[in-house]
Amino acid sequence: MSDKIELDFSTVMFSTIHDVKNSLVVAQGSLTDLSDIFKSNTEANQSLALLQYEIERTNHNLVRMLMLYKLNQEFFTPHLDEYEVDDFLDELIIHNEPYGEAKQVVLEKQCSLDEEDTWYLDRDLLASVINSVINNALRYAKSKIIISAEVIDKQLHIHVDDDGGGYPDEFIRNWKTRASSGFNYESQSTGLGLYFAEKVAQAHVLQGVHGDVMLEHSQHLDGARFTMVIP
């Protein structure tokens, strides 16, 4: 017989995430204060930028782990509602602006939809995927990231373009087959991130049509383009 205590792992995970997130929020707050204090100190600012970037990355990893856990438990339902697309892009920019500033990368919004045009989507779920993509793009971008939205064939396309050189050709050709084969990925978190992005896209269904994820070379900037398609 074992005298192991019965632990409900999901409870452990939820409460840990709650706690860690609180810590992250406070750490982020302190960082903002510090950046104000060290405004003129370039060296300090670079270190702070790195810290800020890593905090955001930790957060994305936490969220992703939780989502994938839920997915695995088949407890994953998107909450689709009507949201203004332009507003959604604004929020993405606002969320990432501090990181952009720290890395001296400009974030630009291009929305070809009217200001009041709405789309049927899970705002928070989508935001966590795209924020994570932007976070990743910030690592490679030299000076600019463009977040844009357009409607093609009645489907909403949200793009993130960066000027960071782009994905290797081989990766663009093969990522989908590898993502579908699971987690056995040499490139670790990138693969997990894309797997998660695909799941979120597929969770958006309208009249039998599922969402999709595309990776390309950016036509606008010399770099990568990530696209999320929402029916």
């Binding site: 709650h18 406070v26 839920k70 339902t77 909450h79 689709l80 606002i94 049927y120 928070d124």
Partner: protein
């Protein structure tokens, strides 16, 4: 629209001090001057009750006690926050939000941690300006003037065509509140013809339920539940509709799923406790009611009725000791409530009887009887029902009948001193006590009690026969005739004859009378 943060009152609720001061700092940077905070649900509700906050930022996870949803539900339930108050729920992870209560208990928006000052400002600005655009509708709804709110919805739809969906959502809700189900149906139909939005489908399910179209409601809600496993409100409605259709077991299963999703929602536990009890599933009923009682400890929704329901479920399962413990706790928790004290005596008598402590049980029953006859107290019908129950158990059928008659009025509370059926209650009790004295060979005392009862209740055969019997026996014992007393005996016998001349006991008493008269 420029939002004036300085003029507004804010409340920040989070169990984590670091986060509270962070959020306070953010709000100050946005210009806010009046900011309160609270570290748990109970304190939050206390502050909301005392202050008129414009904006409440509340974390979903508040440690032990109620969660953020509990704060919102209690505040709305008690009318402490209305449509015009801004309530934003802050969550650590963004898939939690669907495990939430009814539409009317939904926050205005959710914010997922971590967020920065910019995003906070954007969300708050959005909600506040929207609410100010819809001010006329919301203020009317806050005052409970739902018909006026509906008219305002139509006006605003013309004025703000871009907010049509937003307004339609409010209009549907307000129509249901105003009992205008056909109008609500039209609203949802129109929205659904454009897009299958979850809130509109839910609204449609609700309308069908209220219109009594249970099959339609079940069909809509079943699909919703299958697609949105966390949409607990759909479970609630589906359970209600299934129950109305007579499928109470499926109703229970659905509700059990919902309870699993929202383990802190007291009202749902109560509902499940009741449903399972009606289904004869005492184990499930016990579990649900235990949760309701436990959660109620820290909530405004604490209700002694749940304690009593649980006591009964325990007693029916022969768990008398556990029931007694709960009853003692209930008595302590609701010290000032006379009716609760009365009910605890009734249930305690039942529990001791179940344990085989008959004397103790009888004494407690007598105490309860005294309470019932002591005067002007208004007693809730459910307590009277329990009293009927226990009277039958103790063989006091007349008393039970009198109480039953009083219950027939259908009133929620029964005033013992003014109720006709209970006017004789005190004398019924005397008759009962008389029987006890008679059993203890205390004839003089028994006679006094029986005669009092018989005089007041000329049509009450039992007390008249008892009075006659006791008087006759007393004369037999003393071996002498007393004409005055015999005249009284004759009166009681005549009355008994009038009520039921075929009564066996009456006929035996006539023989006894003849013997004594000689």
């Amino acid at each position: 629209m420029k939002i004036d943060y300085e003029a507004r009152k804010f409340l920040v609720v989070d169990d984590f001090a670091g986060f509270r001061s962070m959020l306070r700092g953010m709000l100050q940077m946005l210009g806010a001057k009046h900011i309160d905070d609270a570290s748990n649900a109970a304190r939050a509700v206390e502050k909301i009750a005392k202050n008129n906050y414009d904006v409440i930022l509340c974390d979903y996870n508040l440690g032990s006690g109620q969660d953020g949803q509990g704060v919102l539900e209690e505040a709305k339930f008690r009318g402490l926050v209305g449509y015009t108050t801004v309530f934003v729920m802050i969550t650590a992870e963004n898939t939690m939000k669907m495990v939430m209560g009814a539409v009317e208990y939904k926050p205005d928006d959710y914010l997922t941690k971590p967020f920065n000052k910019g995003l906070l400002k954007k969300r708050l600005d959005n909600i506040i300006s929207k609410k100010s655009d819809l001010g006329k509708i919301l203020r009317a709804a806050d005052r409970g003037e739902y018909k006026k709110a509906v008219i305002n919805c139509d006006k605003e739809m013309v004025e703000h065509p871009k907010m049509a969906l937003e307004i339609a959502k409010i209009k549907g809700e307000v129509c249901i509140r105003a009992d205008q189900y056909n109008l609500a149906e039209q609203v949802y139909e129109k929205v659904l013809s454009i897009k299958p939005l979850v809130w509109a489908r839910l609204g449609m399910g609700k309308v069908k339920y209220y219109k009594g179209e249970y099959d339609n409601a079940i069909e809509i809600l079943q699909v919703l539940v299958n697609e949105n496993k966390l949409l607990v409100e759909a479970y609630d409605l589906l359970s209600m509709a299934l129950n109305k259709r007579g499928d109470s077991e499926s109703a229970q299963t659905v509700l059990m799923n919902a309870v699993e999703l929202s383990p802190k929602a007291i009202l749902r536990h109560k509902q499940l406790g009741r449903l399972a009890y009606d289904n004869g599933d005492l184990v499930a009923s016990e579990t649900a009611l235990k949760s309701a009682v436990k959660l109620g400890k820290t909530s405004y929704l604490r209700n002694p009725k749940d304690h009593f329901a649980l006591s009964k479920v325990l007693l029916e399962q022969k768990k008398a000791d556990e029931a007694l413990q709960l009853i003692a706790e209930t008595r302590k928790n609701f010290k000032k409530d006379e009716n609760v004290q009365l009910e605890t005596r009734i249930l305690e008598a039942k529990a001791f009887q179940a344990k085989g402590s008959d004397d103790l049980a009888k004494r407690l029953f007598q105490d309860a009887c005294k309470d019932f006859t002591s005067g002007a107290q208004e007693i809730p019908a459910h307590i009277v029902e329990d009293m009927v129950d226990i009277c039958s158990e103790f063989g006091e059928n007349e008393m039970a009948d009198a109480l039953k008659e009083a219950l027939e009025s259908g009133d929620e509370t029964i005033n013992l001193s003014t109720n006709d059926a209970l006017a004789n209650f005190e004398f019924l009790r005397m008759n009962m006590q008389g029987i006890e004295c008679y059993g203890n060979d205390d004839l003089p005392q028994a006679i006094e009690l029986f005669e009092k009862a018989a005089q007041k209740m000329p049509k009450h055969i039992s007390s008249n026969m008892n009075a006659a019997q006791a008087l006759l026996e007393n004369m037999k014992e003393q071996g002498k005739k007393n004409k005055v007393v015999l005249k009284r005996v004759r009166k009681y016998l005549d009355r008994s004859k009038k009520v039921d001349s075929s009564n066996e006991k009456y006929q035996k008493l006539e023989i006894m009378y003849a013997q004594v008269v000689g």
